[in-house]
Symmetry: C2
Subunit: 318 residues, 2 copies
DNA sequence: AAGCGATGTGAGCAAATGATCGCTATATGA
DNA sequence: TCATATAGCGATCATTTGCTCACATCGCTT
């Protein structure tokens, strides 16, 4: 009579169940081991696997007063439309982790709208963290997701580009990668790509996006662009000398948020986020090293919304 | 220059921050203590306070296969429109805790709709848990919340009735309590209440609700109605003898889900959930002792949707 | 002002946890 | 076929955690 139940509790299932019993049920790992009929060590491993694989999501259901104050102060100072400040994670903490769930909440907010819209996204660790922190089960098929940044890397590595893809995968929305090199060897090659009709289509879509989510990269010596091999050391030096402090979607700007007309900016393939957009343009970024980059982006209104963490917020206001 | 920040980190704020550092940041309590400048013991107390007060919410981001199978089986067997099965919490686990977040998700689903609607809710521990497990920050001002059950208790205790109130409070929606006794001393008194125009208005609202959320109570010797003093032992005996196995919103039914025409049912003040509604009527209930009550409600289609836990689901199918 | 209860605090301690190590089984590929 | 990598497992052990107890503090009542 009982229907066919219990095929093969996959490893994921077992881990999820262990995590559930641990965090929701409050059982000890010993009890979980007994419940699942495994050794305590295995139970412990299942629990940590559940955490590591992001099966367990923790959210804080209380807006800490100080963070609200900081949000208000940032909003006033930079004329933002949206602002979220997550509590910091202490000295050695990972800023990306701190802001991931707040950023996820911000994105979910847009994805849940019934009105079909176009969501443009950049790349970077922060955005990646945001997507990972999103809840499962959100269906956003009515929206279109478009990448702001080229998806052809010099070394062919794709790890940099899977933010849109992962997101599209997660919410079952159509997505439009931008089929151009992140940064072309020459301005001419870049122009050749942009002359192609399919490329133009994606570019047009990105330009009319209803909302933009981007990370903000610093242009100091630990610049993501350098680490990922998109700019050479020499070019970085050149742009630093010209005042470069940050970049958004690969486009480099100075301390006032003015895009520079040199270096890689002449060969960057992606769509530039124009300053002063009338639609939301949300920056997701935190970390001591990014402060002047973020400030530049805010000053020129390359972004008019911000998700950051507490120490970064304080530094921006200082 | 720095704006006025740091008035008084309230106890809640501190607890929230400690919980954040612990669960999101992964710091040890010792590190948290140092970070916050308190003793380790205080840090530990703050963390547990954060959990106890529901500041920390844990969600499982993975639907365990077995639970999906059970949902399908229940849906097929009882012709449900919606069904969620949460993993069980093991032998000594609290069933309410297990289903709270799944139920919250189900309710949030409705509240997030833009279309204004009327949401009718019952009472009980399960619904209370559901509301507590809801995320903060959901705005549902477009909906109206109406209580199915009277809000006048024999002993004047209000703890039983604050489900609608807490919910309304949380999502900032208007709410309509039902200003009648849960159970009147006589049918006549009950009728007198229902003749009053303001009462009729609420009753009409409840009757046309677009979605109904109710708990399911058992009528065994540990019946909630008995424990809360709404029925006497003698009446319970009488109804049990007549086949009573469960109740929804105070209305008692038998194993087939047929409402009985005796005992308190002649004096119950609230609105009866009619069998076979064409709109969603979601039962939130789990626990071994409730199985036959739930089965009755399902068979007669007093509820056409169910949120329960794994062992209960298995028992319902057995 | 003394008494009293509620609340909070730190020390100590037992239990729970998670990291490490060496072992085994399985796969991978030359 | 064999060598080697890889992953999982149980045992051991240092660290982390949360509980209990004895005491201090504060506010309120008598």
């Amino acid at each position: 009579m009982t229907p066919r139940i219990d095929p093969e509790p996959s490893l994921h299932d077992e881990a999820a169940r262990a995590g559930w019993l641990y965090y929701v049920g409050g059982l000890t790992q010993d009890q979980i081991a007994r419940e699942l009929g495994v050794s305590r060590q295995r139970a412990q491993r299942l629990v940590s696997r559940a955490v590591a694989e992001g099966l367990i999501h923790v959210r804080l259901n209380h807006r800490i007063g100080v963070c609200l104050d900081l949000e208000q102060a940032l909003t006033d100072r930079f004329g933002l439309t949206r602002c979220r400040v997550a509590p910091g994670l202490g000295a050695g903490g990972d800023a990306v982790r701190a802001i991931a769930s707040a950023a996820a909440g911000e994105l979910e907010r847009f994805l849940r709208m019934e009105e079909p819209s176009v969501v443009a996204v950049g790349t970077g660790r922060a955005l990646r963290g945001m997507v990972d922190a999103m809840e499962d089960g959100i269906e956003a098929g009515q929206h279109r997701l478009v990448s702001l940044i080229g998806n052809i890397a010099p070394d062919g590595s794709a790890s940099f580009f899977d933010v849109v893809m992962r997101l599209a995968d997660k919410v079952h929305a159509p997505h439009y990668p931008m089929p151009v090199p992140v940064i072309s060897p020459t301005p001419e090659e870049n122009a050749a790509f942009h002359a192609l009709p399919p490329v133009r289509k994606v570019v047009d879509l990105a330009r009319k996006a209803d909302v933009v989510f981007v990370g903000v990269g610093q242009m100091s010596n630990d610049a993501p662009l350098l680490k990922d091999g998109f700019v050479s050391r020499a070019e970085l030096d050149e742009m630093q000398a010209a005042g470069a402090v940050g970049e958004v979607a690969g486009w480099v700007f100075d301390a006032q948020g003015q895009y520079l007309d040199l270096g890689t900016n002449r060969r960057t393939g992606g769509v530039r986020v124009e300053p002063g957009l009338d639609r939301p343009s949300i920056g997701i970024a935190a970390g001591e090293t990014k402060v002047s980059a973020i400030r530049g982006a805010l000053l020129a209104r390359i972004v008019n919304g911000l998700v950051t963490d507490e120490p970064t917020a304080r530094a921006l206001l200082a």
